[in-house]
Subunit: 193 residues, 2 copies
């Protein structure tokens, strides 16, 4: 194949980012008429291991009107670092929020790129959460317990202009479950059985 | 050792939940006078793997005025489940929020129990997040992208009354970084490098 043909092939290539956008568009239409099926319940179960070390498992969830299950059970460790006089058997609970945010926005970038016919080559992100620990320690009642702010920096290599890439990232934010959960309040009820 | 002595021993036993509360109380006093040292930055780095599958690593963070590092690098996989036409190579990004919430509240229960001299035997929690996926699919603009609500149910076995256990869990919420991050809004900035 000569240079010209390769060039032509590139121009007409259909982007393939591995996202089945048609299935998602079909699901959107189906769920418009079946709102109960769209009601999911995600679950995590935790077991205290001593100190501030906890093991958390995720396997089952409810959705599309019935119990569902991930292909495999996932097990996570959470602890505090040694600078908090703990054993650092896993990442700190609040770091799990950054894990969720990075992956949610990245999945969104891939999905939107697929829908817009933009071929991605790499998508990397660094998420940084500023946290004044005087809040959780009770050292200053004016300092909140959670993050003061979070910054996400994307590095995207794609067959697209900087403007188009910025538009992808902006649309991903607009549809991101985790971005919404962190930027807006959610009602959390805590009970003892 | 006779019955009486065992009984006396139990009554005067110091609770040991493995939490170094004295170190935390000392840190609180030190950080009151050194607010810059209390400014932490937690970080996560992500790399897109194709489709909506992302790998996230957590290792370094900033705190106490300098770069710090967890004892080990932690690597996480996030994906969407097969019912979303994806490969289910890991839990869904939004599920990571439940992992963080369960572990943060459990660490808080252990710390508060230690401070109050209550011996814990087991602490388990189930966290459930109600999520109407019509939001993220763009099927109904009145439906939010994130959780509609989250419910945490604790099962605590401890040398304490139900009332005291409920008070432990309530105090844990009050000091929880993740509980605050989910129940109150945080400013999240997303940029393309």
């Amino acid at each position: 194949m000569g240079k010209f043909e390769r060039g032509w092939g590139d121009m007409t290539a259909v982007a393939d980012n591995g996202v089945n956008v048609q299935a998602l568009l079909d699901a959107r239409e189906v769920l418009k008429g079946a709102p109960d099926a769209a009601k999911f319940t995600w679950r995590a179960s935790s077991k205290w291991q001593g100190g501030v070390h906890t093991t958390i498992t995720v396997k089952d969830y409810f959705g599309l009107g019935q119990e569902q299950s991930h292909k495999a059970e996932s097990v996570f460790e959470a602890d505090h670092p040694e600078v908090f006089a703990a054993e650092d058997n896993g990442i700190t609970p609040i770091e799990y929020l950054l894990v969720g945010l990075a992956s949610c926005l990245s999945a969104g970038v891939a999905s939107v790129a697929q829908n817009r016919g933009i071929q991605l080559r790499s998508v990397e992100a660094v998420v940084e959460g500023a946290h004044d620990i005087r809040g959780i320690l009770g050292a200053d009642s004016d300092v909140r317990n959670g993050y003061n702010n979070i910054k996400v920096t994307f590095h995207v290599d794609a067959d697209a202009s900087k403007e188009d890439i910025e538009a992808l990232v902006a649309q991903s934010q607009k549809r991101s479950a985790v971005f919404d959960a962190l930027t807006n309040p959610t009602d959390v009820t805590v009970e003892v059985a």
